[in-house]
Symmetry: C2
Subunit: 135 residues, 2 copies
DNA sequence: GTGGGGCTTGTAGCGGCTACAAGGTCAAGG
DNA sequence: CCTTGACCTTGTAGCCGCTACAAGCCCCAC
């Protein structure tokens, strides 16, 4: 039969869930779906493509606002892709900053752990490091 | 004079904000504060210590549930610090997993960026990589 | 006594879902 | 034809750790 899928089928085809699809529709990231007589949402191949675009973008860590902008750009193939590049670069830089933050965090946690000799809490270096009495 | 501080002073002393202090009290991470006649919260040195403990723990990325547990352990200095160690290790491992995830993300974003030649969106590799038509 | 800063409570919002509840629809099996 | 049970519908609340209001009270300096 036809290309039309129910929300569950469409979600599965894109690797997401029905709740997420409805959520995206509510946010305007997907156009309002066509409906069956029984009020079920119906999705065609283009809808599934759009959904997959969103899914892939989320996997890459883009926020929904970025994805909204990227979708608008993708819909307009004649435009210069400088804006696409800018969004991607800004996102990569944010990810790299986050990594740097977490690296220094992990380093500090490793240093604390090494010092823990496994005695009583009273002598625990980890607690000590957290306690202002130690500073 | 006395050691008593208002919420704003206590928050400042610990490097947080009044809203956060009230929030912690509501969650039971801090005991209900004493009050002045005019219903202002009052904080002593031990309260500020506790608040600093929380602040430092948050800086290290611990969740509030972890901090609740760590505070309970810190309050009981005779206990074995194995549990402290376990919480810290679990957290470090979670941070390290997060770093690994973000590293692979950043790598993918860098690869995409390099391929962008700066033409039209129609030929943009970034959009292509997001579009299911490319896969 | 007045101005303005800080305090009080309560509530809503951030992101990106996720998990209900209460009901409607639909296809398969008896 | 009727029932079962999977799926769909809407609406609402919750997750985390705050943050930002709003409306009103308190307190101190001038």
């Amino acid at each position: 039969m036809r290309d039309d899928l129910t929300i569950g089928e469409a979600a599965k085809a894109a690797g997401t869930k029905p709740e997420t699809v409805r959520y995206y529709e509510r946010l305007g990231l997907l156009p309002p779906a066509r409906r069956t007589e029984g009020n079920y949402r119906l999705y065609g191949p283009r809808d599934v493509e759009r959904l997959r675009f969103l899914r892939r973008g989320r996997d890459l860590g883009f926020g929904l606002d970025d994805l909204r902008a990227l979708l608008a750009l993708a819909d307009d193939p004649e435009r210069d892709c400088a804006e696409v590049d800018r969004i991607a670069r800004a996102h990569r830089e944010a990810v790299e900053r986050k990594i740097a933050d977490l690296e220094s965090l992990a380093g500090e946690l490793r240093r604390l752990e090494v010092q823990c000799r496994g005695g009583r809490v009273a002598e625990c270096r980890i607690i000590e490091a957290l306690s202002p009495t130690a500073g």
